[in-house]
Amino acid sequence: MGTLGSLRRKAVATVAAVGALALVAACSDGGDSVTGGSKDGDKVTITMGLFGVMGIKETGLLEQYEKENPNVTIKAEIAGDEQTYYTALQTRLAAGNGLKDIQGIEIGRAKEITETQADKFADFAGMSGTDHFLPWKQSQISTADGKVLGLGTDIGPMAVCYRKDYFEQAGLPTDREEVGKLWEGDWNKYVEVGRDFKKGFKGDDVAYMDSASGLFNAMVYGHSEQYYNEKGDLIHDKNPVVKDAWELSADAAEEDLTAKLRQFQPGWDPGLANGTFATAVCPAWMLSHISEKAGDANKGKWDVAPAPKGANWGGAFLGVVEESPVKEEAQKLVAWLTAPEQQAHIFTEIGNIPSSQKALEMADVKNAKSEYFSDAPIGEIFGAAAQEIPDKQVLGRKDGTIKDTFSQGLALVEQGTARDKAWSTTMERIEKAVG
């Protein structure tokens, strides 16, 4: 055997080794800037990281902004699931790499961000033209020393979505005002109506509500203090609000008033399409999901009635990363996207309720009706519900995890576990999750 052949082999091996090293090195080499945004003369590129259906890209607002500001290019990346999005965001914040100029922040994460990542986000305090929000909205994204880390997009005031045809079969009123009167002011009455529904409904396989956890969330979210008190201590085990919500939801679960489904999970969707439940506690942003999954076949069968009590479930903010090379431009864009006109535009297009007080008072918003939901005046119903939301809502770092754990505890009750045992299991799990 000759040496040239082996020389060639050696060369190949060396190239392979160098190639492997280059691969390794390439991984640690990011783009031009930390966030991917850039400024070249007067040409500005802004990147955005969003989740779910925030309506910013979906309703064409970004294109409109680009048209009005020809020097700006916007690149938006949307993750479907917020949990996945937030995990990635946390990893990127920790690594200081891979972030976007503008990042969406869900309300359940607002506290954690303000407590642990405040120095990584730009301050919006004192920015002109940003005083049009509901009084409680901006305080949720502000730190203790007054730094404002983002501007609000939507909020999640609640109503009850119900099937008119099932209510009629069960001998209950179907008009949305009368239905609203049935349970006005008290969630206990909502469950009471469920008992009547169960007695009156002749057909098979239709439950009164989709899941016990929907009811639980609605009750807890209607109060100022939920899982944490103002000092930041956990009170999930002592707060009478939580305990009351648990007991009533467990009542509903034990009496077979629920379809034992999990909201937003695959089993829930065929439930909507085939109509296996008559009501669902629905925040405004849930309407688009229901109309999509229940489909054209059920158009006009659904209606929306006011919930017994006001509550807020969900909503989001837009923040700007401090290290962004286009920080000012990005803040300007965020201010524009969250301005009353744009929030109203998103609402009329896809139904996300504005967090802007001014937008809520606009005629387009107030008079909006939903064709799918039997022409329900959703602007009026959710607008009124938005005013009922308590002016102060105490958020905590682990709100999202605690909510999920309670939902699972109620699923245990739905599956037949005794409620006391399910409660103690839930308490143990929360202990583990927050510890």
């Binding site: 020389l7 492997a20 691969l23 954690e112 999990r262 089993g267 505890g409 245990l412 599956q415």
Partner: protein, 331 residues
Amino acid sequence: MATSTTKALAGEEPPGPPRTTGGKGTARRRGALLHRLDVKGAPFAFIAPFFIIFLAFSFYPLVYTSWISLHDVELSTLDVMEFVAFDNYVELWGDSRFWNALQNTITIGVISTVPQLMMALGLAHLLNYRMRASLFFRVASLVPYATSVAAAALVFTMIFERDFGMINWALGSVGIDPVNWEADKWPAQVAISTIVIWRWTGYNALLYLAAMQAIPAERYEAASLDGASRWKQFTHVTVPGIRSTIVFTIVLSTIGATQLFGEPLIFGQGPNGITGGADNQYQTLGLLLYEEGWKNYQMGRSATVAWAMFLLLVLAFVAQRLIKRLRSRTS
């Protein structure tokens, strides 16, 4: 021809009168050095890419994981690490979720691996017969393996769905009450095992088939001359003939079963899948690791679970060696 040219080019000593000049001698020595380097060094150069990548992406993370597991650290503040020594391990030892997850991992592992390998053996035996379109059947048996976990798990999740799933519909049509596949412990574990079995049976069958084809036909001839039935031939010729492959698949399946993750996660749908059902009824060790890390954001505890899984595999390996040694001593 080619060989002689390369020899000449490389300055290797051609047959002929010995040369004495110094310059040529150095060249020759250099040539010899290159040759030695080639023989001794080239193999290392060849395996270097693997080891560099292994060091960067496997060994370093392994070591760093063990370092993290000695700390209290959250995902949102990775730079704030509080050293707690072995507290995480002590806590894990006393954590009922760990023992529950370990138990589930073992039961799902047994329910999925044993039928899977049995069926693979049978399938390989059938594929080994002369038949029409054998290539088609062989390729077909590999298709599930080529399907992504996510796609397979999602389809099976729909099939096992409580209200509108195909299986409950089929059970209903013969008058059996619907089974709550997700919420009840054993049905859930069986359903998850079904996904695993469906994906891996064909793959193992092909491994067995390859081994079976290496068994010389004379052994079967001899066996049939001795009057052995088909079944006897299978148990006394085929199975011993592919023993090493069987051991290999058992090892692979055991490792796979320990790391079971994607199937139960998707089967449980979203947050409910991370905890392996509302009652943790099918939470595996892989899911517990994920729950600690990406639901509770406790990286230290998550790393601890990862190391516990690794130690379990080491333990299983040691136990297997011990049993083997004991058995060879007694026999």
